[in-house]
């Protein structure tokens, strides 16, 4: 079965635009009949990834763009989210469940995306995240 091509969206680094992207991708997953659990995982991970791109990647600079490529298919939803920041090394992010980090108010987004997605990976520079959610069946 041929795979769909990726849809491309570019937004400025403001949170309301991120919400529009989330709603668009979620709507497509819902149309394809993804379960409530899958939709829950997708919505959470999209929110985390887009927030990271806008806040940490682009420093909420409205001059900087976030580029999204996504492909919603019956068996999986695949998303790339790239910011214009200098990138980061995800292996250097401390484990937020460590005793000394438990009361730290930030640093849990990557852990949640890793828990809810079937694939989470970054490019070498660390300014693009690749997410895959396979249909739970």
């Amino acid at each position: 079965m041929p795979r769909n091509s990726f849809e491309k969206i570019e937004i400025v680094s403001v949170f309301p635009q991120a919400k529009q992207v989330e709603d668009l991708i979620i709507e497509q997953a819902e149309k394809l009949g993804y379960s409530e659990e899958d939709i829950f995982a997708l919505r959470l991970s999209l929110e985390e990834a887009l927030t990271n791109a806008i806040r940490h990647g682009n420093g909420q600079d409205p001059q900087k763009k976030v580029k999204i490529r996504y492909r919603a298919q019956p068996e999986e939803v695949e998303i790339y989210i790239a910011d214009e920041g200098k990138g980061f090394d995800p292996s250097l992010v401390p484990d937020p469940t460590r005793e000394d980090k438990l009361e730290c108010p930030s640093g849990r987004g990557i852990m949640l995306m890793r828990a809810y997605m079937d694939l989470l990976e970054y490019n070498v520079r660390g300014n693009e995240v690749h997410l895959v959610k396979q249909r739970l069946s």
Binding site: L44, T51, E103, R108, G109, M111, L112, A115
Partner: protein
């Protein structure tokens, strides 16, 4: 008369301030910021507060929302109060277990048990 905001409902019961979160999605920065402002105002108005936060209507929660809860817990602690959480749906509770925040917060299944726990 308690001050309510569009995103929270505040009531009193047996000396416990009960805040019901009215938003189904506490994901985006705008919603989190509005709720955060209202919650911190409740904490300051009732200090030292015995605060019960009900998640009955909440369906989605992000890591930023967890950050707000952590800051709120810290502030309540500083002012000599106590925070309890209740009525968290199974899939949301999973977020607390993944992040091990179920160890940091006192979480109750139902509202009545949570209210009683303040006097124990």
């Amino acid at each position: 008369m308690e001050k309510n905001s569009p995103k929270i409902k505040v009531t009193q019961e047996n000396g416990v301030t009960i805040v019901e979160l009215l938003a189904e999605e506490i994901l985006d920065e705008g919603t989190i910021s509005t709720i955060s402002e209202s919650l911190f105002a409740v904490v300051e108005d009732h200090a030292p507060v015995q605060l019960l936060l009900s998640f009955e209507r909440v369906k989605h929660l992000s890591s930023s929302a967890l950050g707000t809860l952590i800051r709120l817990n810290k502030r309540i602690d500083e002012t000599g109060g106590k925070l309890r959480l209740c009525k968290i749906k199974k899939n949301l509770y999973e977020i607390f277990t993944i992040t091990k925040l179920n160890k940091l917060f006192d979480i109750f299944e139902d509202r009545e048990t949570a209210i009683k726990s303040f006097v124990c």
